[in-house]
Amino acid sequence: MLIPIILPVAAGLAMFVIKGMEERKLRDKYVTAVLLVCAAAGIYIVLGPQSQELRLRLSENFLFCLKADGLSKIFLSLVSLAWICNGFFSFEYMSREERPVDFFGFYLICYGFISGVALSGGFSTMQIFYIIASILCIPLLMNRGTNEAVQASVYYMAYFLIGQLFIHFGGKYIMKYMNSEEFEAGGSLNMTLLEGNEGMFMAMVFLLLLGFGIKACVFPFHNWHKVTAQAAPLPAVCAISGILTKMGVIAMIRVTCNMTGMGILRGTWVQNVWIILAVLSIFIGAVVAFRTTRLSERLAYSTVGQVGCIVFGVAAMCPDGMTGAILLMIAHTMAFLVLFFTTGAIYFQTGYTEVDQLRGIGKKIPNMMFCFALASCVLMGIPPTMGFVGDWYTTQGALSAISGPVASAGSAVFLIGELFAAGYLLPIVLHGFFPGEEYSLKHEKVKVPSLYTRIPTLLLTGIVYVIGFCPMPLISFIHEAVSAMAL
């Protein structure tokens, strides 16, 4: 159980000590080996028996608890996959940055702690891993050491601290009403204690959700994402938008499903406000991404919108919505990494930052842009892709579980978000392949990227499409996990 957590942390720390890591060959081999071993350990856990647990009572009121239930397994495998692919991509990319050793060291450590979040079986354990993982992203962000990077990290830190405040107070208050320190299926709320304090309790649950929502860039705390996406090196951005935002979503699911239980939240103002925030972040993400012309900003806001879709599915608080949210989470992580890898490879070669500069790029590297097109279809939710499956379940959940105008408005905005997604992703593809008559940019610098970029891109595109064609095994696994959480 501890291997996927301790091993990368130790290996990452060791990177700072071992000499010769400055050399690229050795560093690449080392990082690959560590990532693969960790992934193997992760696979062992995922394929292992249903309930693996580890409990250490460290003190009177702190229980260190690791559990591998369905949700942990899904998130752990997603994290491993994304981390390996992203690591492979960054070998090439980071070789030109100034301080690759720092990057890879913190990258590995961060991996360990995010796996910890995935595996943690109690609120206090999760909180610790969550805090450390969040903090350890700062060195990744600051890697370039430029003015903007420092500013972005301060900004990230400020949001993190606000979130921490919410999480701390909310968590402390809510834990008083829990029967158990661990995550339980269906929650472990003590109803007798709660009597008379419902109002405050609801407010505190909301505060807690808001605190975790900051990491998932839910409106109104979504601005940090854009700032970090512009300042950090691309692999760090991949890690942050691909995985770190999903960590916030996982924490939200844990709070609502395994601590308070969804029964008490269903139909209250907490759910309604939560849905409205999710819908607003879908809307803002989609619209701002549509209107901007900077590539990094467009992708960043697209993440805001897509993660909003996931949160919307969770906030529907029903099995279908939850299934859809998890499917969307997987689809978005993989498709988004593909988008980042392709644009990142181009940026690496040419330094293009504007969308217009990509005109005609498809003539030069058709295979990569074809992957880009396929991944954008996933984000747009075009059948037969995985994005469609996720959208379908989410919409079904929203329509069945939420009643009244919120449901129709929510699903309408959901669709508008998809349309805007088509609006901001398709022009890149279309102009890439069909630059038009007056196109004269020749893209002399652009070459077919090396295998370090192509392999993860093709791998992720392949996986997301294979799952999209026959999602039934995954869906039944998710169904099991969701029913084990007893919504």
């Binding site: 949001y159 619209v287 064609f469």
Partner: protein, 641 residues
């Protein structure tokens, strides 16, 4: 995955063929062209081979459960088989002419890579027995046919293609929301189950909402009135084989969706029938008027398609209104679909033949091109007369049936106290629309075959006898011979086709009371003759007088009198999508998106002095060290001296 795998092969074979062709094309383009011909011919033969399966009204099914989380359900029955074979036939014809047409084009490998999968997807769509399957193939068609439309990469083509794609994606999202609402209500998207589930429902508001969403979604593909805006440009901007496919087949996929929705969710729903009839009338008139004003062959043909789709929608609407005894209207609608596919194939082939030598299709530039070219002349005449519903050509049969259907609606409305006047107006507009069809086909005919070009006539005449390649000749003869044969023996061919296909638009609860139609009786012909008269009048009074002008007392030229501002795409849709909606949403977002915290932090004016200072320190230390070493060296030096 259960059922008859042959249906799956029918869908997947073109996909596989496209990839194999692509790999061949990387080596050698001639073999690739032959291979593409082989793929489409094999597909056509394969569809025909499946015909005997259906003897005695049998059906075969293929079901892949859990595809994309829902079901992929293919079925072969009468209508689907007919449309499947028409699809394969038209694809075969267009691929046959593609080799000659694209001889001087770039990127032909890409063309085949995307056009062949469109065949597979279209085939899948016509075979589907489940609304999700329809949606799936609809989206695949949108993306693959986009590449075909944008093929020559000129700005006009790109604009047309992006409009098309935008329309399809917006339509697709309508379909998505309609389907999710339906699934919410009934828990299934299977067509058979839906029909049963809807009939047991009391409160139908939810169904109407879903139905309208689906109608507009499929309407985007069919070119129905509010979603028709892509039609003109997309047809005019794309290469001729692709415009043929768009007009003959891809719009019919949308109509197929509309038929599925109507026939299964709103079967025998009178209000829905009237709604569809009104939409159809609008579409029909709009298309006909724009076609009369047009000065570009392909645009005229595109708007003519719009108009004919309006006729078909009117037929579907009246068959909804008629309820169980709707045989005439159903036959009319189905046969008009079939006939329109065949006619538009022929007409676009003619346009392609003209374009291959002239590289323009503006009416002024091709005046007199057809003089002294008997094959082209005969083929075009077949198409024009068929489309104009002249007796003894195939269009006449179907339009007569459509007309009879509306007349039956009129009688029924009079009997049960329905909106009699509405149907009366619809009938008159129907005849007027038929007249307009005649008028714009006369315009084309006079332009190409009667008029003389003031300057280039000699050049055109020099082309006589070698203006067309062998494969294209074969395609042209094949496509045109069908038209009069079908028209002269309606009982032999078209009625059988209609009897095979009628199950798709009918509940089948009551057997039809058969009353045979005598097509060549004076009373039946009256409507057609009225239309033709109206058409001749419109041509000589409107087109000759208002839409043509004489230059210097010599040749007649065509003028584009349609007000430029009155183009729905540029007037409403493009600004709506490109400016109004994003601006409005953007205004809302800029309020919500204010980064207060970020500004506060920026005010703090953080800098990274520490890094620079560190560098300076390092430099200073290195300098000190260097000095020290130097001093020591000097000292040693002195010592030894």
């Amino acid at each position: 995955m259960t059922g008859d795998y042959r249906l799956l092969i029918l869908v997947l074979w073109p996909f596989a063929g496209a990839w194999i062709g692509y790999l061949i094309g990387k080596k050698d383009s001639t073999y690739r062209d032959y291979f593409a011909d082989f793929v489409v011919i094999a597909e056509f033969v394969y569809v025909l081979w499946l015909f005997p399966e259906l003897r005695g009204g049998g059906t075969t099914n293929f079901l892949a459960e859990g595809f994309c989380g829902l079901n992929l359900h293919l079925r072969l029955d009468g209508f689907r088989e007919i449309y499947g074979s028409i699809t394969a036939y038209i694809w075969m014809m267009t691929t046959l002419i593609s080799r000659e047409y694209f001889a001087h084009y770039q990127n032909r490998n890409r063309y085949y890579l995307f056009v062949l999968p469109t065949l597979g997807a279209t085939m899948g769509l016509f075979l589907s027995a489940d609304l999700f399957t329809v949606y799936l193939f609809c989206q695949i068609i949108s993306f693959t046919s986009f590449v075909g439309i944008a093929h020559d990469e000129r700005d006009t083509a790109l604009k047309a293609a992006s409009t098309y794609l935008a329309a399809e994606i917006i339509g697709g999202s309508f379909i998505f929301s309609g389907l999710s609402r339906l699934y919410q209500l009934f828990g299934t998207l299977e067509i058979d189950e839906l029909r049963a589930a809807v009939s047991g429902l009391d409160d139908r508001t939810g169904v109407y909402v879903a139905g309208v969403l689906l109608l507009f979604g499929f309407g985007a593909k069919a070119g129905m009135f509010p979603m028709h805006f892509w039609m003109g440009r997309a047809h005019a901007g794309s290469p001729a084989p692709i415009s043929t496919l768009l007009s003959s087949i891809i719009t019919k996929t949308g109509l197929f969706g509309v038929i599925l929705v109507c026939a299964n969710i709103f079967i025998e729903d009178k209000a829905w029938g009237i709604f569809l009839l009104v939409l159809g009338t609008f579409t029909m008139l709009l298309g006909a008027v724009r076609a009369i004003f047009g000065v570009h062959v392909k645009r005229i043909l595109a708007f003519s398609s719009l108009s004919q789709i309006g006729f078909i929608l009117m037929g579907i609407g009246s068959s909804m209104y008629l309820g169980a005894q709707n045989q005439t209207a159903v036959h009319g609608a189905l046969l008009h679909m079939v006939n329109h596919s065949l006619l538009k194939l022929l007409l676009y082939l003619c346009a392609a033949v003209i374009y291959m030598r002239t590289h323009t299709l503006h009416l002024d530039d091709i005046r007199g091109y057809g003089r002294g070219k008997p094959l082209l002349h005969a083929a075009f005449l077949c198409g024009a007369l068929g489309l104009g519903c002249v007796p003894f050509f195939n269009g006449y049969v179907s339009k007569t049936l459509l007309h009879e259907g509306i007349v039956e609606c009129m009688h029924l409305a009079a009997e049960i106290g329905g909106p009699y006047v509405l149907f009366l107006v619809a009938e008159m507009l129907f005849l007027l629309g038929g007249g307009m069809t005649i008028a714009y086909m006369m315009k084309l005919y006079f332009c190409i075959f009667i008029q003389k070009h003031p300057t280039d006539q000699e050049k055109f005449d020099n082309l006589n006898k070698h203006y067309i390649g062998k494969a294209t000749t074969a395609a042209l003869i094949g496509a045109s011979a069908v038209i009069p044969v079908l028209g002269m023996f309606p009982h032999l061919f078209l009625e059988r086709v209609a009897l095979w296909g009628q199950g798709i638009l009918n509940s089948g609860l009551e057997p039809y009371v058969i009353h045979p139609v005598h097509y060549f009786q004076a009373s039946i012909m009256k409507g057609s003759l009225l239309s033709i008269g109206a058409g001749v009048v419109i041509y000589f009074s409107v087109i000759r007088k208002a839409l043509m002008k004489q230059v210097n007392g010599g040749a007649w030229e065509y003028v584009y009198r349609w007000p430029k501002k009155l183009d729905l795409e540029d007037l409403i849709y493009r600004p709506l999508i490109e400016r109004w909606v994003p601006d409005m949403c953007g205004a809302v977002c800029s309020v919500l998106n204010t980064p207060i915290l970020y500004r506060a932090i920026q005010k703090m004016d953080l800098t990274t002095d520490w890094r620079e200072k560190k560098k300076e320190n390092d430099k200073k230390r290195a300098e000190d060290r260097r000095k020290m070493l130097e001093k020591r060296r000097l000292k040693d030096h002195n010592k030894y001296r």
